[in-house]
């Protein structure tokens, strides 16, 4: 069996490993933007090969497919989906696992995603307002209170500005921050031609984040265990937002700070969205889908955004946590027979994934690029951990060089977080810089302290949302504006009426 995998990073390396576990001994071919050494090795060892190609170019990827003539194609990242790579491959008759460009709108356009939830009254939705022009956005922000300013289009998680504005003595300065964020986003998004809306202003919520990933063939939805990502670059949830610096999963299908009821509610939200999305765009959803969720005081499980693919590094947690033939599941998904698929979760196992990135990531990719690094993969394996190659390439001199983003991910597991954490901390030690350029990772990911902290925050939030629900206040935010009456617009500043 020939499988073509499209994509270049740690997520695809995980997918490659999962697919190659199959008893059907597939040959793996990879269409990748660069020669990721991990992917290259997986491909070669299975008797396949790696093609270096612009993965967001439908024609080029289709050409690779023609050459490989695969039985199955798996498209990992979102940008090829947005660009129509999946569509082009399906048009040519290939069996493809991955959201079509129409279905991937759920990730590409946050305005579309939010509007869909409001249109069908799906729980877990947030108030938002979207703007095409910077002037409109700036004018609105003048009256906005506690908000998040986001790019209206998926832009690799960058540009999101959370402006907690609950202290009136800071509100004048915070307006400046909001306006500045809007103008940066506007600039950033002007290079994308596929989004009218540029700036999204959204109700700010706080709580515990987690990712709910599923696989779907369009009618059947196969839920995967919840994962918690750590988007901040640095320890203590400090620093800029990244693609994810590490993640944890387990035990069971949930996380230590998410209840089973919350897991079920989350699953319902994801299912409803998938159903409505397919109706709305008139296309079948085949592939992976994920809800980036947050447990909030407003709703309990609340949607922050959606992914039309597996999360990275979220997917890496599945390596040690699922049993069963992943390739078969993918195949059944593509042929619309997911209903009978078996994928069992190792409930007693918890996993800790950590990304290692060169200093400079995520804002200064240039300075973070081109640094020689070494990894002792044998030692990592001795610990029972896995190593994933991400943004790293092999130079002609045989050394590995950073490409500016997260270079490696280590995946460790055990029957307790204390142990999985200990192993992950040892594993990251086997990645080192050869030119003295600092590499960083988050030592707190998976630590019992951080998990305990999340649990306390979740408990606090849980108290509020259950109280609100008991009072019929779920999602409703009652704001009284003297002289005007009660309004239901939480985006308005508590001081908005005074300005």
């Amino acid at each position: 069996m020939r499988v073509l995998l499209v994509g270049s990073g740690g997520r695809e390396h995980t997918l490659a490993k999962l697919l190659l576990r199959s008893t059907r001994e597939p040959r793996l071919y990879v269409a990748s933007d660069y020669a990721n050494p991990g992917l290259l090795r997986e491909a070669m060892s299975s008797g396949g090969r790696l093609y270096t190609v612009n993965t967001a170019d439908p024609q080029r990827v289709a050409k690779v497919a023609e050459e490989v003539s695969p039985d199955l194609i798996v498209v990992g990242p979102e940008e090829p989906q947005f660009a129509g790579v999946v569509d082009a491959l399906r048009d040519r008759g290939y069996a493809v696992f991955g959201a079509s460009s129409r279905c991937s709108l759920i990730e590409r356009s946050k305005v579309f995603a939010r509007t869909l939830m409001w249109k069908y009254g799906i729980p877990g939705r947030l108030y938002f307002k979207a703007f095409r022009s910077l002037e409109e956005a700036a004018e609105f922000l003048r009256f906005a209170g506690d908000v998040v300013v986001k790019p209206a289009r998926q832009a690799g998680g960058k540009g999101v500005r959370v402006v907690r504005d609950t202290r009136a003595y800071l509100s004048t300065d915070k307006f400046e921050v909001k306006a500045q964020a809007a103008s940066r986003i506007y600039e950033e998004l002007s290079r994308y031609r596929d989004s009218d809306y540029k700036v999204l202003v959204e109700q700010r919520v706080e709580g515990v984040e987690y990712t709910a990933q599923v696989i779907t063939d369009g009618s059947c939805v196969l839920p995967l265990p919840l994962v918690q990502d750590h988007p901040h670059a640095f320890e203590g949830d400090l620093g800029p937002e990244t693609g994810g610096m590490g993640s944890i999963s387990g035990p069971g299908v949930t996380l230590p700070f998410v209840t089973y009821d919350e897991y079920v509610t989350t699953g319902d939200i994801v299912k409803q969205v998938l159903e409505r999305l397919q109706e709305e765009v008139g296309d079948r959803y085949v592939g992976a889908f994920a809800g980036q969720m947050m447990l909030t005081a407003l709703w309990g499980p609340t949607v922050i955004e959606f992914y039309s693919r597996f999360g990275d590094p979220e997917i890496a947690n599945l390596l040690p946590r699922i049993d069963g033939d992943f390739l078969e599941v993918v195949e059944r998904t593509v042929s619309g027979r997911l209903a009978g698929a078996k994928l069992s979760v190792r409930g007693d196992v918890v996993s800790v994934v950590k990304a290692i990135a060169p200093a400079g990531y995520p804002s200064g990719k240039e300075e973070a690029s081109g640094h020689p690094v070494a990894v002792d993969e044998g030692k990592i394996r001795e610990l029972g951990c896995d190593l994933l190659y991400a943004s790293v390439i092999a130079g002609s001199d045989g050394y590995l060089y950073t490409k500016g983003s997260r270079a490696f991910e280590v995946v460790c597991y055990a029957d307790s977080y204390a142990e999985a954490y200990r192993l992950s901390e040892l594993a990251v030690g086997y990645v080192r810089s050869l030119d003295g350029w600092p590499l960083f990772y988050r030592s707190d990911v998976g630590s019992p302290e951080l998990i305990g902290e999340r649990a306390r925050l979740a408990e606090r939030v849980r108290k509020v949302y259950t109280y609100r629900a008991s009072r019929g206040l779920s999602w409703r935010t009652v704001v009284w504006i003297p002289g005007r009456g009660i309004v239901d617009d939480p985006l308005l500043s508590y001081t908005g009426w005074s300005k």
Binding site: A168, S171, A297, V461, V478, W480, Y494, S498
Partner: protein
Amino acid sequence: MLALQHRGEERRIVCSRAGGEVTCRDLESWSPRDLSVRVAVAATYSSGSLENLVVCDGTVAAVADRRSRYLEEVVEEVSKAVNRGATWRALGEVLEQFSGVDVPTFLAVTSRDELVAWRTPSGLTPLVVGGYGFDLLIASSESSAIEVLDADVRRHLGPAEGVYTSGSYLKFFRAGGGPARGLCAFELLYTARHDAVVDGVAVYKFRKSLGWELSKLLASEVDVVVGIPETATPYAIGLSQATGKPFEVAFVPTAARSRSMMKLDPLERLVAVHLKLNPVRSSLEGRRVAVVDDSMVTGATMRSVSQMLRLRVGVREIHLLIASPRLVRNCPYSVFELSQDHLIAANLDYESIRAYLEVDSLAWLDLESVERVSRTFHCNLCGFCLGRESLGGGR
């Protein structure tokens, strides 16, 4: 001025004679070292606009404790009398003409270095006279200011009572008549400092007694009692003593204390409120909390408090008790300049207020309790804004 800044601190004004004329200046530009000044009147205001609060025509300068269009008329008449060379008795007769008119309590200085302090005949706002050694007479809205100056409180002036002095002569007098309205209830409920004695009533004791009354309204079991920053503390202590539930410090204020209710601009009011509200998490986390506030105007403060208690602190339940009756009418005497459509209790029903504030329960002190406590303290209060003309029924 510091001792009275809780009554407003937007503008601080000093009026005194300089040369042949009296003038008024902002405190910042006034030199207290000028030893030729024998009499000065001063006031601190919550409003930047001094219209109808300070009047000065070169002969007489007066500072009043609330806006009134009659202040100008009074000053005009006193000024004419001074220019005629009138005696103190004649000045009293001038004031007499204003019987039945809503003149505010004021302090005036003349170009002859006289001081006239007069409490409004309706008795709405207080006036206290104190002395320091052999030298100094101090008249103030609040006894605390006199004590803070290390002087002694000598006399609480009653409605229509005043004091006149020219330095070589001093006389207490009574001028003007008409119906006594009673003391503004908010003087005892909110405005005065806890350490003040107003018309002979110890403010702290009065507030604690109302706190005891609050215990009857507490429908639900609580673990702790807290007061919303400083003004509600005695009520909360009263409630705590009545229920046997511990009183805890819930918030720590940042920087100088400032009276949020005195701010007219809503943003400024919230700035003042939020500066008072850094929560003490350890005293409240996971608890059922009785939150006591002295009054509720727009509810904006309470909403900030409840959001903070739930999201930042993580309390289990919030039971809000307001230590004064519902504010339902605006004050026609301009003691508080709040318009009726800004009074939450006058505009929203119980359920809407509860939903807006996100509290588990909510109760205002009832008029009967205030009536009862006022009677115990022998005071007669104006409760117009609370929906009742008079509370306590005379002394």
